[in-house]
């Protein structure tokens, strides 16, 4: 039953999204392209938070490592885009694992704090090595995915659908069940014979892989990588808000939240600085009064009460 509801929600939405280039202009397609990459960031984050129960305050650490490794390889050595993306994703996984192995030993808020510190360190490294990384101004990238808006849109759309499909499928699989049990009650999960650390680490690596890959794709779309777009704490905060807004433990909700967040920022642009405030206020209201998020209630009334 839950499966049907999900399908009913997702299928029409995907059809509309696939047909959009026929009806809307390049500007909106460009916005959605960014929104789709953000959606992958948010979905990866939800796998960690919603299922493994670990709050990663530094999603932009994983995104940034993926993006900058890809950018540097392309800028200095002119590697082809797929190779840069693959290396970026692998680097994010390695960076994530180096961070997570010691961090997962700590319980409570310490995991979150370590991930937060990691972002600040990455930002510092990039700024301090401005000669190589372009510092705060950023680094330009010779290659781009495409110069055509529609092609770029479909790259992002396809990437989001595939990543989302994999992450969602994973969350509904037996592994997702074990992960959720580990997140909720580690002692009981261990008493059932599950190696909690192993499952959480795997979740972290999967999250890192998709974050890093999406980070790389994003900068090859933009043609430049800068701290402000892929590393800054604010980038991570937006990802977190998008995921929570859309609905924790739903994966799909994270995508909805991202598209909503970027769309709302755009609609409110005439308000100038006030736009961010209004969007944040909406996010606050949703989190306070509907902690389940947009999709929280819709997708989870599946089990019979």
């Amino acid at each position: 039953m839950a499966r049907n509801r999900t399908f009913l929600l997702v299928a029409p939405a995907l059809i509309v999204m696939a047909l959009l280039p026929l009806g809307v202009g390049g500007y909106i397609l460009g916005l959605l392209t960014v929104a789709y990459y953000t959606a992958v960031f948010a979905m990866s984050w939800d796998l960690l938070f919603g299922f493994a129960g670990e709050v990663n305050f530094g999603p932009s650490f994983l995104i940034g490592v993926g993006a900058y490794v890809a950018a540097l390889l392309n800028h200095y050595w002119g590697w082809p885009i797929p190779a840069c993306l693959a290396c970026g994703a692998v680097a994010a996984v390695i960076g994530g694992a180096v961070l997570a192995v010691p961090a997962l030993r700590l319980s409570g808020p310490y995991f979150g704090l370590i991930t937060l510190v990691a972002v600040l360190m990455l930002q510092n490294i990039i700024v301090l090595n401005a000669g190589i990384t372009g510092g705060e101004i950023g680094i330009d990238i010779p290659d781009v995915l495409s110069i055509d808006e529609t092609t770029n849109y479909f790259y992002a759309f396809g990437f989001m659908v595939v990543s989302g499909g994999i992450l969602f499928g994973l969350s509904r699989s037996p592994v997702g069940l074990i992960l959720q049990a580990s997140g909720q009650d580690a002692i009981e999960a261990a008493a059932l014979g599950f190696n909690v650390a192993k499952h959480k680490l795997t979740a972290f690596c999967i999250s890192a892989f998709f974050s890093g890959l999406a980070g790389g794709m994003l900068i090859f779309y933009m043609g430049t990588a800068s701290v402000g777009t892929v590393v800054d704490i604010a980038v991570g905060v937006n990802v977190i808000i998008a995921a929570v807004l859309g609905g924790r433990r739903t994966i799909l909700g994270a995508a909805v939240g991202s598209i909503f967040l970027i769309g709302a920022n755009e609609v409110l642009r005439p308000l100038g600085q006030l736009a961010t405030f209004v969007v944040s206020a909406v996010a606050l209201v949703v989190i306070l009064f509907f902690p389940g998020g947009f999709l929280g209630n819709y997708l989870h009334t599946g089990g019979r009460e």
Partner: protein, 487 residues
């Protein structure tokens, strides 16, 4: 033949406290051993050491000859140990069947789908423990006994060689106890080794082959249930001195000034009636007991008085209605509830917990109050620096009461202070309450299911049954008028 489980010289220390001291025992296949002891005796710690949740400081835990002491929990589980936890924390969004399927899964990262046979096995297990009717429901919609069944189902799914069961019958009705006994006996019939951890021998006597009694971390007695029950040390630990009734010295005006007046109270939880047309009153300086079984509505009544649940009807405190006041405002008027769940700050020390209760007092007042409380509960004085979480159940209860008393309550509401406590602790608690009653003019409203604890102190008794007050009167008349139906 090697025993399935063999524990040797097991020792566990928490800081300076020796929780388990040199405990040894073995359980053969197809045998049930009862591990009993009052609260704080270390029996739960023994169980946690076997499961690897706590790492023992010394000793061996052998499973069919393999020493697993100090291994991580998940490896011990895979070596063939299963545990039935007393307090289940099920996943909220998965159905009962999915919980059982979870327990059937191997620890494998590549398990992306389950085949149909897993589901069938899960359904078979659900049928065996009697969960078939509810297997597609979510845990939060289930009754307490069904959640315990779910824990048993998970243990069955792992098919462990050694099954550890923590307080199998706590909170269950007589009929459910029979059901659970049969299920546990079926483990024995299938050749598993079973360790039952419980407070007293009586509860598990019919089921166990042998009993090992512990007290303060040490081995006290071992043998058949009858032998252990006859053991002198065990009798002393459990029975202690007799609890006696004593009338409180009469005070001027006692019972005449109405302090709390509850009229026609009603509380609904969704569609279920938790309190139905209840009227009670408590006079100044009175000690009133409300007795009733689990689920009769005691806690709900107290929560309504404390302003924690919405209600219909009226609650008057010294003549003014409490309706519309927040829980905090009600507490400041002098109604202090000491909840069943104790609600201590686990990571804070005993002293810090008490100091929190005395926040509003001047330092001199606070010191005086503390001295008085340490006189009432001497054990707390010696435990001042210890984190509240590491206290035994009885000590935690004393701390909860002491913290409530730090606030100088006009009316102290005690909700099930004896819950889960062993007789020896009951006696200490009973003495403290009696001292309180004889030396101060505090007003107390006590909720209890343990009648022998509730009656001796009471000036007046209410009996609550199925959300209603069914009897009110003097404790002396309780036995003949209401006792038959209750005991």
């Amino acid at each position: 033949m090697t025993a399935l489980l063999e524990v040797g010289g097991l020792t566990k220390r928490f800081g300076g406290l020796v929780a388990v001291k040199d405990i040894s025992f073995k359980i053969e296949a197809g045998e049930i051993l009862g591990l009993i002891g009052p609260n704080g005796s270390g029996k739960s710690t023994v169980m946690k050491c076997i499961m690897g949740i706590e790492k023992p400081n010394a000793g061996t835990v052998k499973l069919s000859g393999t020493d697993v002491a100090g291994w991580p929990t998940h490896r011990i589980a895979r070596q063939g140990v299963g545990i039935v936890f007393q307090h289940a924390r099920p996943l909220q969004r998965q159905t009962i069947l999915e919980h059982i399927i979870l327990a059937l899964l191997p620890d494998n990262l590549l398990m992306l789908r389950t085949d149909h046979s897993v589901r069938q096995r899960a359904e078979a297990i659900a049928a065996r423990v009697g969960l078939t009717a509810v297997m597609h429901r979510l845990p939060r919609t289930l009754a307490f006994a069904d959640l315990r069944r779910l824990e048993l189902a998970k243990a069955i799914a792992r098919n462990p060689k050694v099954v550890l069961v923590d307080e199998p019958f706590a909170g269950l009705t007589a009929a459910e106890v029979t059901d659970f006994s049969n299920l546990i006996a079926s483990f024995r019939a299938e050749g598993h080794a079973v360790l039952l951890v419980d407070h007293n021998v009586k509860g598990v006597a019919a089921l166990v082959d042998r009993v090992l009694a512990m007290y303060l971390g040490e081995h006290v007695a071992e043998g058949t249930a009858e032998e252990v029950m006859a053991n002198e040390t065990v009798r002393r630990v459990y029975l202690g001195g007799k609890i006696e009734t004593a009338a409180r010295p009469e005070r001027e005006g006692k019972g005449h000034t109405p302090l709390l007046d509850v009229r026609n109270l009603g509380v609904l939880y969704g569609k279920a009636t938790a309190i139905d047309d209840v009227s009670i009153h408590v006079g100044e300086g009175e000690f009133v007991s409300v007795v009733g079984l689990n689920g009769a509505g005691k806690t709900t009544l107290f929560n309504a008085i404390s302003g924690l649940v919405p209600y219909s009807g009226a609650i008057n405190w010294r003549g003014t209605p409490l309706a519309g006041k927040t829980a905090g405002a009600i507490a400041r008027t002098g109604i202090v509830q000491c909840p069943e769940t104790r609600e201590l700050f686990g990571d804070m020390s005993v002293r810090e917990n008490l100091d929190l209760g005395g926040q509003h007092m001047t330092p001199a007042e606070s010191t005086r109050q503390l001295d008085w409380l340490f006189g009432l509960f001497p054990i707390l004085k010696s435990r001042q620096g210890q984190a509240a979480r590491t206290l035994s159940g009885g000590e935690q209860q004393m701390l909860a009461i002491a913290r409530a008393l730090m606030m100088h309550p006009k009316l102290l509401i005690l909700d099930e202070p004896t819950l889960g406590l062993a007789p020896v602790i009951l006696e200490q608690l009973s003495k403290a309450l009696e001292t309180l009653r004889q030396t101060t003019d505090i007003t107390v409203l006590l909720g209890e299911q343990n009648v022998t604890f509730a009656l001796p102190h009471a000036d007046r008794v209410y009996v609550i049954e199925h959300s209603r007050i069914v009897w009110e009167g003097d404790p002396a008349r309780f036995a003949e008028e209401a006792g038959a139906g209750y005991l």
